[in-house]
Subunit: 754 residues, 2 copies
């Protein structure tokens, strides 16, 4: 499929064989409070989430956070086995990207080194396993020297810092016991499963001020310096283990690098982390959780890559989003959408996340843009994301009690039920309307970067108005399910129709919807605009919100095909802003082809795929899906990790790197692409009354099989292309497209003809 | 003197010959708004001061900000001439530290490269001159490739960035024209005095993601890629110049790297900076200013190193402090003290700085700790520094009008004369007293790091009380000079005596003064304390403030000798805090031997030298001075630049690097050491009525000559050791020790017998 590597082990792992890819390839290891952001060398940050504004790093060095030095004591030759700074001719060099671990394997002159990293299921520590195997014919005298660059200086005052070997720990202890800090994680420790023969604690002694990591000065000596350091900006942890390894023998050393409150804490924690089997159990725990999740939805289609992504890796990516949001921040809109996808995997967690998000809704109904760190910018779209997620939760679980959960408002004594939170959100949207009766734009909507079109509270967002139409519909569906809410439904339906009419009057141009009208009364994303004449999301969401009849919707989606398509997806808008426009905001300052300004922003493409399916355009939807996948033959060198969806590809207007994926992993696209495949293409979707099966199957897909767990029962679904829809469950033909609810643990045979 | 290098060119320059010193050696190039912080490779930051909270960097990369690559086109061999990352065996490699320039010279295989950096006298640009000389016997085909890592991304949004070769400029233009930023410096440009044959604009193409600066991938090709870049975190500027150099010939290329508002601005600015002779004129302007300043005080003593420091380099260091404070921040106390020293060089500037500082005094009389960036921490000592500085200005210039200068209070509509600012400051000190009638400690005093002893406004600082006694004296002297203030003098003198009595009652322990009493009623720096029993500054300032008779003062200074002396100076306190103490503050969390917690903090040692002189201990003062100089034989490997005074040496309690100088250049010690030598040891001090000459001459110093400019006249002073004091001016014996004021431009012969 490419020159990067290959999937193996039931596709649950990926081996990177090209160790110099276009950009470093990432993997994440994490628990609820600690995360390691690793590239294919095992470099990258790891940190603990302390509070919305603070993180405490264990490693915060992208160039040499972790290096595994190997030295042949007989010849004096040395190298680092995971990064190969010294440019040795390795006989083997690859990275295994696991679910719950990362492993770099190399071999040079008969010595094979495996460096495996994992995170514990709780706590703040990096777990390392280093295996050194002698594949040569003779006994070898090998120094193994694990090295790290711990993040010691919590504050900017170097004078707090001291690091030394501590006998009590039989390891290295780095202290920054500062005056007046907000947490007690003032220590970092590094300890191994055997006693080091020597150690270094600062690069003044290990690497040397003027040497490179290819030739650390300490490795020219027989042992490390055994000296501590204070008041340092170059602390390191390096421990020498002098191993004699017989031919064919393998020696294993475990290392833990973690944070602690003091030396005693370090002693206790390291004892636990280095106890027998702890490392392997940590990986097994992640694998077990992942396997359980993988089993909830299994797809067998002719598209092997889509199978891998659907069954394994998109779930992994969604799991990251669920806990860590966008890793560096946690947004209301982001977590709420991720939770809509999460509901199908983990109802309990979904309910929890809904409450976490709603607790950051202001008393006026408008949620915060981001709550970690806190972003008080007046984005106006937050409330539109709640009903869909709550509905998804109810549909998946059948549990209506979530609606009564009591949740506080942000920085307020007020609190209310989830149901009232939703309604207050809709009221915020409906009661903040502009001159054209559309919803006010405020500081922005989904499009974070149109952040100066509506700050004067005159501009109106057509997209946000459309999204509100959709959200009202979802809220009304919830009202229907709980019953006895006819008056409210009638009231909201009338308001929805009025809003819809306003959009059709002021934002519809026959072949497209505009994006809105800004504070200056100028149309945005209109035929009248001199740049960015067409926006993707206004069209796709018009379909999702059923703003027109099918003919009308088909027409606007044709505009999408005509104006926004490129070789690697659909751009957010076209033509991208090339002249800066203060009446738009930062989007119109971004380079053409970057982010919202005309990149292929995959979250938007995922909406587009769903819209295609709603209009029955199965092949278009599938083609769109394949364009943003790693294996798009027209964009094979995009840079993206083969096992995740990227946030965006630079658009065709970007001059030097169109199609390039700057980063992946943290993006709302993961959850939405998963829903595209499962809910829209395969059409398998939990409803309150049962499991809907309503495919929009690409013509190339025949003999499809899906296994889906819904309310604890397993539905084994075989799809058959017959030309007419028929649903058979356990041999009985069902009227309609909803398979009934079954007892937990039961198994059912479903045949879906279409 | 050492293995680092040597002074040359009338000692106005220093050649570093050891290019791998213990720590990188710094030099600073600057004008009023732009500064380059360079090490001996020519690495380091350069930035513009935008406002108290913001800097805009041109270069912000300590590892590869500037590299001068040389490639032999015939052999393909390449290296960088200023850092030598490739570890070539250079035949020559040295750095010339100039006043106003920095020059790195290297030679390899017959090609000599000189890389000289300078700053213009105004504007925000780095000026580079690169000379390549062929010392071999044959014509050589050389690629010269200047490289830099410009700081492009002003905001964290990479999406704003774009960089390319621009024909209009015939150079490289890096743009980050971001939405909503506070300044218009959105561009950086790099242009040379000749057109480049090729260029690179990103390390994606030049260095390569996986290559090192020892082997940038682009240099394996015949030319650079000629490609631009957007949305990048690795912008670079690299230009190839293909030179054919005859044997013995030298070719010179000038480069300017600067910031600008847009491309047109870049074109205009670069035309100016690259105009004929601009580079040389910029260096000459700095040299002229420095020479003029150097001529204001010339010492000829047997101590060549003290001569160099007094005549040239301390003045350079003070000049840096005058404009840039501590570079990363500008503090009231710091700038006010620097200004006391500055008054002797530049009265006009001193008056300006006094006003700048006083404008950050709060209406209650208490100045801000720091005004760039603004530090609102409630330090209580600011006001004690003003009278001495204003008095120094008046004494030097005879100009009393400064006292009437109208200056606003900080963040207030109130404003008042400099005189009233001073008095309001004294009132703040006198009216904020504690239970023992000493001055409240507040959030801290000179000792920034005792920041938790007085926050509850109960603790009282003995040191601050002593400093207040001294400040009142200075203020009263000003009152005497202006006359008609007897009532005020009487009132303040009474108040001073009361304060003095309080200190003697509550902070005097016979052989030492304590540092104060904290919020908890505990004595700090007392025999009763379980750590940090003796503080340096309480003793030295007791001498400066004449708190006791001479016997008493000699006794406390003996305590200093007994308790605080080490091989490389006098520690701030002893024994340093080794147990953390929240009743002290961050000082008691610092490592023992770091900063205020028991380092040799040179600002404090400078006070000590002055105190020695006040007690007539010439040899002790001189010995103390020599201990903190670079050439202290017991601390020759301290790491300090030979041409500046360091902020501190790690104290003897620091386990691994006692005596180490972490950094130098920005420290209040520079101004005070200068005063120690000139005012206290040589005893030459401007008074309102004339030039006082009252030496405290070390016994090793005979046949001393000083030339001193005072109020525009030059006093050529010859010192003669006779055993009894006699002052002769232009052949006439003077009664007392004050030489009269003479007309500007006149020259006078002074003989001082002592």
């Amino acid at each position: 499929m490419s020159n990067l590597g290959f999937f193996y082990n039931d596709k649950k792992e990926y081996t990177i064989t090209n160790m110099r890819p276009r950009r470093p390839l990432k993997n994440f290891l994490w628990n609820e409070q600690f995360i390691m952001i690793l590239d294919h060398f095992g470099f990258g940050e790891s940190f603990r989430y302390i509070n919305p504004e603070e993180r405490r790093f264990v490693v915060n060095d992208g160039e040499a956070g972790r290096l595994i030095y190997i030295k042949d004591r007989e010849t004096g030759e040395f190298y680092d086995a995971n990064r190969n700074y010294a440019n040795k001719s390795f006989d083997k060099y690859e990275c295994n990207v696991g679910i719950g671990y990362q492993q770099i394997v190399s071999e040079y002159k008969g010595i094979e080194t495996k460096f495996t990293l994992a995170a514990p299921t709780e706590g703040f520590a990096e777990l390392w396993k280093i295996e050194v195997k002698n594949n040569s014919d003779t006994t070898r005298k090998i120094d193994l020297i694990p090295y790290c660059r711990p993040s010691v200086n919590v504050t900017s005052h170097l004078a707090y810092g001291h690091a030394d070997y501590e006998k009590k720990l039989d390891g290295l202890y780095f202290s920054h016991d500062a005056y007046n800090i907000s947490h007690n994680c003032v220590g970092v420790y590094m300890k191994a499963s055997m006693s080091p023969a020597s150690y270094d604690i600062t690069d003044i002694n290990f690497k040397g001020i003027y040497n490179s990591w290819a030739e650390p000065q300490a490795l020219y000596n027989e042992s490390l310096s055994n000296k501590g350091s204070s008041f340092d900006s170059t602390y390191c942890g390096a421990m020498q283990f002098a191993l004699d390894i017989l031919s064919g023998e393998q020696k294993t050393i475990y290392v833990v690098l973690g944070m602690c409150t003091d030396l005693d804490d370090a002693v206790n924690l390291s004892d636990m982390y280095l106890s027998d089997g702890f490392f392997e159990q940590s990986i097994a725990a992640v694998k077990n959780d992942a396997d359980a999740m993988d089993n909830l939805f299994v797809l067998e289609s002719p598209d092997e890559y889509i199978n891998i992504m659907t069954n394994i890796w998109l779930k992994r990516q969604i799991s990251l989003g669920k806990t860590w949001g966008r890793v560096y921040n946690k947004g209301f809109r982001d977590i709420m959408q991720d939770t809509a996808g999460l509901a199908a995997f983990d109802g309990k967690m979904a309910r929890e996340k809904i409450k976490v998000c709603l607790a950051t809704q202001r008393p006026n109904g408008n949620p915060m843009r981001s709550f970690a760190p806190i972003d008080r910018d007046p984005y106006y779209d937050g409330a539109v994301w709640t009903p869909e997620t709550v509905l998804a939760y109810i549909n998946e679980t059948g549990d209506l009690t979530v609606l009564d959960d009591d949740v506080p408002y942000f920085e307020s004594d007020e609190h209310d039920s989830v149901f009232e939170h939703m309604y207050r959100g809709l009221r915020f949207l409906l009661d903040n309307r502009g001159e054209h009766n559309m919803v006010l734009w405020g500081g922005g909507d989904w499009n974070d970067s149109i952040n100066n079109a509506g700050n004067q509270l005159k501009g109106e967002s057509a997209w946000l108005s459309i999204a509100t139409v959709k959200a009202i519909k979802e809220f009304c569906r919830i009202c229907e399910i709980i019953g006895g809410k006819d008056e409210l439904i009638n009231k909201l339906t009338k308001e929805r129709e009025i809003l819809k009419s306003a959009v059709l009057e002021h934002a519809f141009e026959g072949d497209q919807f505009t994006y809105g009208i800004n504070d200056w009364g100028e149309k945005v994303g209109s035929h009248e605009s001199y740049q960015a004449k067409t926006y993707l999301n206004s069209q796709t969401w018009a379909v999702l919100a059923e703003m027109l009849d099918n003919d009308g919707l088909n027409k606007i989606m044709q505009t999408v095909e005509d104006k926004l398509k490129c070789d690697f997806g659909y751009v957010q808008c076209a033509p991208a802003y090339s002249e800066k426009d203060l009446h738009i905001g930062r989007m119109a300052y971004f380079i053409p082809g970057g982010y919202e300004n005309g990149s292929v922003y995959n979250h938007g493409v995922a909406f587009k795929i769903a819209a295609d399916c709603m209009l029955g355009k199965a092949d278009t939807a599938y083609e769109s899906l394949k364009m943003i996948c790693y294996d798009n033959p027209k964009n094979l060198n995009s840079g993206v990790e083969p096992y995740v969806v990227t946030n965006m590809f630079f658009g065709p207007q970007e001059k030097y790197r169109p199609g390039f994926s700057f980063y992946a992993w943290f993006t709302g696209a993961a959850g939405w692409v998963y829903r595209d495949i499962t809910e829209f293409i395969l059409g398998v979707k939990g409803e309150y009354t049962g499991l809907k099966i309503n495919p929009c199957m690409p013509s190339a897909w025949n003999n499809i099989f899906v296994s889906r767990v819904y309310r604890g029962a397993t539905y084994n679904i075989t799809y058959k292309r017959t030309g007419s829809y028929k649903l058979t469950v356990d041999g009985k033909v069902i009227s309609g497209n909803i398979a009934p609810i079954f007892p937990e643990g039961s198994n059912h045979t479903v045949v879906c003809e279409f």
